[in-house]
Symmetry: C2
Subunit: 207 residues, 2 copies
C-alpha cells in the first residue's frame, strides 16, 4: 500500500492542510496555533466558527506553566494524554476524579463525581491551567465556586462534550468567564482529545 | 445555575437524545449500541452515515473479551480511557508505543513509531480486539501484516483520525477487512475518545 510513513512529513502536511482549509482569520497567532492543534485532534476544519476565547488565554496559560503552575483536569484521559515533553517546568497534571474523597463529596453535594472533584481543586487552583474535557457539570461547578470567591486559575480551557449541559455550560463560560482568560468551543463538540491538543499548544508553541 | 446534577439522569437523557436524533436504521442492535456510545463521546449525531461495519463485529469482540483476550491499541490515551469495570475478564489493555524496542523498529522499517509498534503485537494478535484510535499508519501497517499472513484478531475497531492517511486507511479496511470483523468511520473523524467509547460498548452492552 502506498502511504506516507515519515512522521515529520505527516505532521507537516497535516498542519498545512488545516491551515489551507480552516478559516483562522481574526484569531491571534497563538490562539490560532491552539485551534489548529484542536482541529488536528478531531479531523474537523470547521471548529473556528464555534471557538470563543479571551485573546490573552494562550499567553496566560503558557506563562503560568513556565512558572511551574499545575494543570488541573476533570478527566483521566486528558491527564494521560498531555505530552510531558512539551511541559516547560515538568508541571504536575492533576485529576481528582479517583480521589477517595470524591464519591463522598458527590453524595454530600448531590452532584456528579466529576463536579464534586472540583472541591479538591481549591488549594491548587490559583494560577493553574484548568482543562475540562469531559463533564459539563465540572465546568458549571467551577463557575459556581468562582462566583463564591474562590482563587482564580490563570486560564480555563473549557471543552466539555455531549448532549446535556455541554452547550449550556460553555455558553455560560463565554458569556461570563469571571475574569479568567478562557478558550471554549460552543455547542456539543469537545472532549478529551481536543482538550489535550489545546493543553499541548498552550504548553509549547512548537507545531 | 440551573443544570442537571444527577449522573444517572444525565446519562439517561443523553442517550435518549442520541437515539431520538441519530439515524440508527439498518444497524444491528449491538452495533447501534456501539455507535450510540461513539456519538456520546463526540457530541455528533451524524456519525451513522459514515459508519461501516461487519454485522458480527460487536458479538465477535464481546465473545473474545469474555474468553480473556487482550485489547491492543495504538494510543496511550485509548489504553487509559478503557473503563476497567466494563471488562468481562479483567482483560489486558496493551499499547506498545512506549516500548523500548519501538524507536529502533521505526528506524529499521522506515515508518512511524505508531506503525512500528504493530511489530510487537504479533504474539498477542490472535483473537485480540484491536482498537486504533490515533494513527492511520498503524492501521495501514496492520493490514499489510495481515496480508503477509499474520494471525487474525477477533475484531478491528479502526478509528484513526486526521488529514493524512486517515480516510484512506479506513477506506482500505472497509473495502477489504482481510476476513476480520471490523467497525470504522469513513473520513477524517475518529480519535481516542470515540475509540474508547467503541471498546466500552463492545466490552459490555450496558448503556
Amino acid at each position: 500500500m502506498d502511504y506516507v510513513k515519515d512522521g515529520a512529513e505527516i505532521y507537516r502536511r497535516s498542519f498545512a492542510t488545516i491551515r489551507a482549509e480552516a478559516d483562522l482569520g481574526g484569531l491571534p497567532d497563538d490562539v490560532a496555533g491552539a485551534v489548529v492543534r484542536m482541529i488536528h485532534a478531531c479531523g474537523m476544519t470547521d471548529l473556528p466558527a464555534d471557538v470563543r476565547f479571551d485573546p490573552a488565554v494562550v499567553a496566560a496559560g503558557r506563562a503560568t506553566l513556565r512558572n511551574g503552575a499545575p494543570i488541573i483536569t476533570d478527566a483521566k484521559m486528558v491527564a494521560s494524554g498531555v505530552t510531558r515533553s512539551r511541559l516547560p517546568a515538568d508541571n504536575e497534571v492533576l485529576c481528582f476524579l479517583d480521589d477517595p474523597r470524591t464519591p463522598g463529596l458527590a453524595a454530600e453535594l448531590g452532584t456528579t463525581r466529576s463536579a464534586a472533584a472540583v472541591e479538591l481543586w481549591r488549594d491548587r487552583l490559583e494560577g493553574a491551567v484548568v482543562a475540562i474535557g469531559n463533564a459539563p457539570t465540572t465546568l458549571f461547578h467551577l463557575l459556581e465556586r468562582l462566583d463564591a470567591g474562590w482563587p482564580r486559575p490563570a486560564a480555563i480551557l473549557g471543552l466539555p462534550v455531549g448532549f446535556i449541559g455541554a452547550a449550556e455550560s460553555k455558553d455560560e463560560l463565554a458569556a461570563n468567564p469571571r475574569g479568567v482568560p478562557f478558550l471554549t468551543l460552543l455547542g456539543r463538540r469537545g472532549g478529551s482529545a481536543m482538550t489535550v491538543a489545546a493543553i499541548n499548544a498552550v504548553a509549547d508553541p512548537k507545531e
